[in-house]
């Protein structure tokens, strides 16, 4: 037998329900904790959701954020936050700062004149400085972006739930979506805890997590459905364990390949996209965990009707669309 890298032994027989209270219960507790952190600490919203301006400056001279603050202090701006940005891909004489300006007036955007003044003040302080990007979002748009983000997340969750319901049973749909919410809320909780910048691309990342995380869950469910037909008398819990064990090698393989790819993006992809890569990275980790430890627990809890007799609604023994080979 040729050598093969194995992430899981050929045949595993792990009881994934053994420490149910620690794994499933722990997950639920973590999810609640994420909610609390989110509620207490709030998210560090980027200008997409809060309105205001961000500027990215580059200079060959070393950055002294105090001097930056000094240069901007006389301009009568709202809140100004200045951060130095670090990234392994920067050249040795490339010093990048990110400046975030909230509008002094809550209802108005930072005006172009103010921006020009900011740029002039910065260049006066450091003639080598260049503004390499700037973004301004007015309060009207930022409000809309908040609501459209919430709508997008809800619509995606519902669409995925509807699809699962069509392809499997309603219990699977609920279990799958619970696993999704687990992944998304804990990711949001992590962003709140570390006060990482939360902007539109992070919402895109959350949406991607929704799609990715359900991917793993679906593969487990798919095997579960197959095994339910095969082992009609085996207790549901055992069929579930069997299904997860059978798919374990694949679940780990896929997670690792995806983590490798996203990890490369996280480390080498530059700081502009780092938040996005980070959210997806975390989401994939959580997604793998939740497809093994969260999704099926709810299904077990809700129970499945495994009887062969025709249902009251007149459907066949299996589910209506279950046999469609798409």
């Amino acid at each position: 037998m040729a050598w093969r890298l194995r992430l899981a032994p050929e045949k595993t027989n792990i009881n994934f329900f053994a420490y149910q209270w620690a794994t499933f219960g722990g997950s639920m507790a973590l999810m609640l904790l994420a909610f609390v952190i989110w509620g207490v600490m709030g998210l560090n919203f980027g200008i997409d959701f809060k309105g205001g301006t961000t500027m990215r400056t580059e200079s060959t001279t070393v950055i002294d954020t105090g001097a930056y603050r000094q240069a901007l202090s006389t301009l009568g701006l709202g809140d100004v936050a200045i951060n130095e940005v670090f990234d392994p891909s920067f050249r040795s004489d490339q010093h990048v700062a990110s400046i975030r300006i909230s509008s002094a007036d809550k209802t108005l955007a930072v005006t172009p004149e103010q921006l020009a003044a900011v740029e002039a003040a910065l260049v006066k302080m450091d003639p080598a400085l260049k503004v390499v990007s700037s973004e301004t979002v007015g309060p009207k748009v930022s409000g809309e972006l908040v609501s459209s983000s919430i709508i997008a997340l809800t619509v995606t969750s519902l669409a995925i739930m509807a699809y699962l319901w069509l392809r499997f049973e309603w219990q699977f749909a609920l279990g799958g979506v619970l696993a999704l919410l687990h992944d998304v809320f804990i990711t949001i909780g992590i962003f709140a805890l570390f006060q990482l910048k939360f902007d539109l691309t992070i919402v895109a990342a959350l949406l991607t997590i929704l799609g990715y995380s359900i991917n793993d869950t679906v593969v487990v469910f798919d095997r579960l459905r197959e095994n339910l037909v095969k082992y009609k008398t085996m207790p549901l819990r055992d069929v579930m364990n069997l299904s997860v064990n059978e798919t374990l090698s694949r679940t780990l393989m896929t997670s690792i390949t995806t983590l490798i790819a996203v990890g490369a993006m996280l480390v080498l992809g530059g700081d502009v996209i780092r938040g996005f890569s980070f959210a997806i990275f975390v989401g994939i980790l959580l997604g793998t965990y939740s497809s093994v430890y969260v999704a099926k627990n709810l299904v077990l809890f809700l129970g499945l009707d495994r009887s062969d007799k025709p249902r009251k609604t007149g459907k066949g023994a299996d589910h209506e669309f279950a046999n469609i080979d798409a």
Partner: protein, 558 residues
């Protein structure tokens, strides 16, 4: 026993792969193909204008063979650098203009009924309506009927059979407002005009691939790659260049003078110089047919203009009746000159002087020719990305993608041996297909889009993993190798489809939810899902069956 795939199927699969790869090739020579494409566009333009191609342009054409496809993946603003603006058009401006234009018409109509209605007055009102009172209360009904006669049918598909204005009675005051159907039609017209004018102005500046799109009912997204900053872009399109000729009614000491109803106080060229002018212009810039930069008799830069027939008549009549009085040439709510009328100007042409530089007069002529924006715009969102930052992002993304792909390939080969290397071949083909399709549909690659492609690298092998794991299982249950491969592909299919379909749902939602970079991500992810299923199921299957039929192994190790 061997694995059989019908010839036609094999041809179709390899054919699709070949097309995809060929379409992707130009992207490997990005700058070269881009130079060629730019030259081709420039040549076409100059040929249309009656000119000829320059030698540099002709030699640029040879940079890339013409038999090869030359479509490239567009780079988004965050990669190429450029400016993005989200503008909101103040649609209500147009309602106001319509009402102001309707007032003289209404007044004239009621003049015919002088005996029944008495004198007619315009009452102060909200800008989008016109309130008219008559001095004889008993004549109100007659006036109402007369004014209702002014209504026309709405010119639009959906509003057919409806009137353009609603004329109602509010106590003793007649209220005229645009009907909802007409408002809708007007809004659409205003948006169309705004889009067209912005497009012309941006095109005149000669920037590459600008994208100007309507968003929702009253918004316009403008994206121009390669431009220095959003402020520059705004200067290019934001100037309304609204030209009017108004009657001067007097002068004012400062901007805060209360001018009275239907009058405006506008600043002049000199500081502290203010004019009181009639709010309703005699002629507007919309009635211009031409405008050219020129010089006045003192050899200062000026702009020559020509009116259309209606404009010329109005202007002729007005100047004939007001000889010796000053009139104001108003540009964007500023009186740029207020000459005294020397004689009736009946020829329909004239000259605008002001303290212009040559550049300003040239720009003004361009703006006047392109026409004024029908309504004012406010900018809700502005983004500028410098070209250096974009290039840094491309470089970082490229490295990340290559490293990610290398590591995933190693991992696959370590895990599945020969079958793993088939998956790697499929992965490379998959990448080529993504770029091929993006080029074909003219898709835009953004920084999150690169991340989407990298993510696809990880996820693309998922389908292979599912199949290979399944084949392993089938081998354990003592199937023959050929049977195990067949059953493996067959049984894994359902999981593959389910898993990818859910991700496709997300990509679709992301596409509709996001704009710009996020949309680029959705497109990359969506295409990646489709191509990865194709390569993982069909391409690896062909590779494996070709190998299998060649080597005919007795046992199979996956």
């Amino acid at each position: 026993m061997s694995l059989y795939t019908p010839l036609w199927k094999r041809l179709v699969i390899w054919g699709l792969v070949a097309i995809g790869v060929i379409m992707a090739v130009p992207n490997l020579f990005y700058t070269r193909v881009e130079t060629r494409n730019d030259a081709a566009v420039a040549i076409e333009k100059s040929l249309k204008a009656g000119g000829a191609a320059t030698p540099e342009q002709t030699s640029a054409l040879d940079l890339w063979p013409s038999v090869m496809p030359s479509a490239l993946v567009n780079l988004g603003l965050d990669l190429r650098g450029g400016a993005h603006l989200l503008a909101e058009v103040k649609l209500a401006d147009v309602y106001k203009q319509r009402m102001n234009a309707l007032w003289p018409e209404a007044r004239d109509a009621l003049k015919e009924l002088r005996d029944t209605v008495g004198s007619v007055r315009r009452e102060p009102s909200a800008p989008e309506e016109l309130r008219i009172s008559v001095s004889k209360p008993e004549g109100v009904q007659a006036a109402l009927v007369k004014l209702q006669g002014l209504a026309n049918n709405v010119v639009s598909l959906t509003g057919a059979g409806q009137k353009d204005i609603d004329v109602t009675l509010d106590g003793q005051v007649i209220v005229i407002a645009l009907s909802p159907a007409e408002k809708l039609a007007t809004d659409n017209r205003t948006m169309q005009q705004s889009l067209e004018i912005i497009r012309r102005r941006v095109d005149a500046a000669g920037t590459r691939e600008p994208s100007i799109q309507r968003q929702g009912s009253d918004r316009i997204v403008i994206e121009v790659p390669g431009i220095g900053s959003a402020a520059e872009l705004k200067a290019m399109i934001g100037t309304t260049a609204k030209l009017t000729f108004n009657q001067v009614l007097g002068r004012a000491a400062d901007a805060n003078t209360a001018p009275g109803a239907q009058k405006l106080v506008l600043p002049g060229n000199e500081p502290g110089e203010f004019y009181i002018v009639d709010e309703n212009p005699v002629v507007t810039g919309e009635e211009l047919t031409d405008a050219q930069p020129s010089f006045d008799q003192n050899n200062r830069p000026a702009v020559n203009f020509k009116f259309n027939v209606a404009g010329a008549r109005k202007f002729g009549t007005y100047t004939g009746a007001h000889i010796g009085e000053p009139f104001a040439i108003v540009l964007d709510n500023k009186v740029i000159s207020a000459p005294t009328i020397q004689s009736a100007i009946t020829g329909g042409s004239g000259i605008i002087t002001g303290n212009f530089s040559l550049e300003e007069s040239t720009n003004l002529a361009v703006l006047l020719r392109a026409g004024a924006l029908p309504a004012e715009m406010t900018f809700l969102e502005e983004r500028t990305v410098g070209p250096e930052l974009g290039q840094d992002s491309i470089d970082a993304g490229k490295i990340a993608a290559l490293v990610g792909m290398g590591l995933v390939s190693l991992f696959m080969i370590a895990s599945y041996g020969l079958f793993g290397s088939f998956a790697v071949v499929a992965l490379v083909i998959n990448m080529a297909l993504i770029f091929g399709i993006l080029s074909m549909i003219g898709g835009t690659l953004t920084l999150p889009g690169i991340a989407g492609i990298v993510l696809t690298i990880g996820m693309a092998v998922d389908a292979n993993v599912l199949v290979y794991e399944r084949i392993r299982e089938e081998l354990r249950t003592a199937h023959t190798p050929a049977r195990a491969i067949e059953v493996g592909y067959e049984r894994a299919l359902s999981a593959i489809i389910d898993a990818n379909f859910t991700t496709l749902i997300t990509a679709v939602v992301l596409y509709f939810f996001g704009a710009g970079p996020v949309r680029g991500f959705a497109v990359a992810l969506g295409i990646g899902i489709v191509t990865s299923v194709f390569t993982a199921i069909f391409v690896t299957r062909l590779l494996i069956s070709a190998w299998f039929n060649w080597r005919k192994p007795k046992t199979l190790i996956v």
